[in-house]
């Protein structure tokens, strides 16, 4: 395991009465692509700004390679930030923008020239040296912002929703670009986004946050396939979250029907939350299903059909490449390993707090 590069310890941050981060701890390893994912106001951007040095935590410490940098101003930190709205210097050419950090650090002209052309090549914008930022498109400006940051050879690149202002197609292209950059540069990326697809595509590790607490930390597959609580399940992708009772190990009762599953250790006859992804539900002939239902709604989504199936008062969302017209009687079948069982939160507080036992 590579060592901890950044270590946030018991960070608390409040704005006036509003507690944004409460006793928040997180460490980031070297050469990792970490994404802080969560809805707006979950504290992800504040976390990033605390790492960058733009905000000071009210309490807690920030360690960088085991050195306390909590009180260090941004210009003394060995990391660089890519801002949400690019934040290029509008009065400088692209070359001057990229050279800004290098000139501050008094690098030689030859070195700076090499670095500029290297960085522009890296972000596929060769020949843009003498353009002004305003003459570039959003995607180009964002790539310049990245170039401006990486020429300083930071140990960590902080990215604050850098693709938020771009349109869908460009966003997808930039995602691949960022993965490529990360692999070529071999530095740590800390990425903030509210877009779950972005997080799943690019990250090595995803930190799902809500209301200033970590909900789950894991690889994209972990987070998607084994959400630890209803918030994560709901936030990442579409999902059916339904109350159930764990009859015994590997058997759960939902809506009066008993489903085989693979989860164990929840005890007997315990209330639980059950998560089933829409694409994991198979619609079959009524007599072959575990439970019956009626199709109430069908929407064509391109890759698949999204259908609503009403059964015993619960509306399932189902994704399937086969279309079942409205009012069709269907059976619902779910493979045991596609059923994810979660503890029910005992209180509102626990809903917000990380469930990481």
């Amino acid at each position: 395991m590579p060592e901890k590069l950044i270590d946030l310890k018991n960070i608390t941050k409040r704005y006036d009465e509003n507690v944004v981060l409460d006793d928040f701890s997180l460490y980031i390893r070297e050469n990792e692509f970490v994404t802080l994912l969560g809805p707006s106001g979950c504290g992800k951007t504040t976390t990033l700004r605390i790492i960058g040095g733009f905000e000071k935590p009210d309490s807690g410490t920030v360690l960088f390679q085991n050195k306390d940098i909590t009180d260090l101003p941004p210009n003394k930190r060995e990391l660089n930030t890519v801002f949400q709205k690019y934040a290029l210097f509008p009065h400088m050419t692209i070359a001057d923008n990229i050279a800004f950090g290098l000139r501050i650090h008094k690098k030689s002209d030859a070195y700076i020239r090499d670095k500029i052309s290297y960085a522009l090549k890296l972000v596929n914008l060769e020949g843009y040296e003498n353009r002004m930022p305003e003459s570039l498109s959003g995607g180009q400006q964002q790539r310049i912002a990245i170039a401006r940051a990486i020429v300083n050879e930071p140990k960590v690149l902080l990215l604050d929703e850098p693709l938020g202002a771009l349109d869908l197609k460009l966003r997808q292209d930039m995602q691949y670009e960022l993965i490529r950059l990360k692999n070529e540069l071999g530095i740590t990326f800390v990425y903030v986004t509210h877009d779950q697809e972005e997080a799943l595509t690019m990250s090595d590790t995803i930190v799902v946050m809500n209301q200033g607490y970590i909900q789950q930390i894991g690889t994209p597959t972990d987070i998607y396939n084994e959400p630890q609580n209803a918030f994560v399940a709901d936030f990442i992708g579409d999902s059916n979250i339904v109350s159930g009772i764990m009859i015994r190990d590997k058997l759960v009762e939902i809506l009066g029907a008993r489903f085989d599953c693979v989860d164990t250790g929840f005890g007997e006859n315990r209330p639980v939350d059950v998560v089933i992804r829409p694409e994991d539900i198979d619609l079959v002939d009524p007599k072959d299903g575990t439970i019956e239902g009626v199709v109430t709604d069908v929407i064509f989504k391109g890759v698949h059909y999204e259908m609503c199936v009403m059964s015993n008062g619960f509306e399932w969302i189902v994704h399937s490449t086969d279309c079942f017209p409205v009012d069709t009687h269907v059976g619902i079948h779910v493979d045991p390993f596609d059923i994810q069982i979660m503890h029910k939160p005992e209180s509102e507080d626990e809903k917000a707090v990380a469930v990481d036992e």
């Binding site: 949400q84 009065h91 003498n130």
Partner: protein, 278 residues
């Protein structure tokens, strides 16, 4: 441009013809004609008289000094206001703009009372057994009056320019290793230049043309070009001579604005030139 919107410009057109263009032509006409109504350059060239040249020079020097002082005072103030104003009501800004709402004559007379031989300042100095300060009716008093009167005109445009700078652009400079001073000179200052330029214009022009401040705080002993022009109209009733000098003054103002404009656009066209050569 449709008919309706052209109609809307009507009142402004009438206004500008009636109150800008016609008066301007009257001034030009008076300046270039004599009592007999014939063309003459006599009144315009009156500026070369020693008295007139001296007061024009004095006006230019005072205006330069007061503009520079205003800039020095206003820039840090504008930055502090922009910092304070974040998320708060603009009441702090208001406090500094408030003096603008008072009649300028009143403000100047107030300064006269403060600076007078037996005025407020000297009253306090004598009470403290300190030597009295005699700057009334001297150049420093006039410059002080100009700075006090015109400071808000410098603060406002700079405040606007500075507060419009995206906080993250400043953060980006810090992030890239710039300390506070480097951030100020490489990012904040160049980005606020448009505000600085309009502030300079708004202080320099009224300083150059004022006659009230020099009249009250100069005690009639220091004649600026504005005072000379005023005297020609009010005491001598010589419209030709007054207009002649006014035209010369206007030429100076236009020149100074062209210089500023050129400097301003230089900042943005440098890059265009570089782009062409590439």
């Amino acid at each position: 441009m449709n008919k309706k919107s052209r109609l809307l410009t009507g009142p402004y057109l009438i206004w500008s013809i009636g109150f800008i263009i016609i008066p301007l032509f009257i001034v030009l006409f008076e300046a270039f004609t004599g009592d007999n109504g014939l063309f003459t350059l006599k009144y315009v060239t009156d500026i070369t008289w020693f008295v007139n040249l001296k007061s024009l020079g004095l006006s230019l020097v005072f205006s330069f000094i007061s503009t520079a002082l205003c800039l020095l005072l206003a820039y840090p103030l504008a930055m502090i206001l922009a910092e304070f104003g974040k998320g708060r009501s603009s009441i702090t800004v208001l406090v500094f703009i408030l003096p603008m709402w008072m009649n300028s004559l009143l403000r100047t007379i107030a300064w006269q009372n403060i600076l007078e031989r037996n005025g407020v300042i000297n009253g306090m100095l004598t009470a403290l057994h300190l030597p009295a300060l005699y700057i009334i009716n001297k150049p420093p008093a006039i410059v002080l009056g100009m700075v006090y009167d015109f400071l808000p005109f410098m603060v406002l445009p700079i405040y606007n320019a500075v507060s419009r700078i995206d906080r993250d652009v400043i953060n980006a400079a810090r992030d890239l290793g710039a300390n506070g001073v480097q951030t100020l000179f490489r990012v904040i200052w160049p980005m606020s230049l448009p505000g600085v330029i309009s502030g300079i214009t708004m202080v320099f022009v009224p300083s150059l043309t004022t006659f009230v401040i020099s009249d009250i705080l100069g005690g009639g002993k220091i004649l600026l070009i504005g005072n000379i022009i005023e005297q020609m109209f009010t005491q001598d009733s010589d419209w030709h001579a007054g207009s002649g000098l006014s035209v010369v003054l206007m030429i100076f103002i236009v020149i100074s604005m062209i210089i500023e404009e050129k400097y301003d656009s230089d900042q943005t066209t440098v890059t265009k030139r570089e782009r062409r050569t590439n």
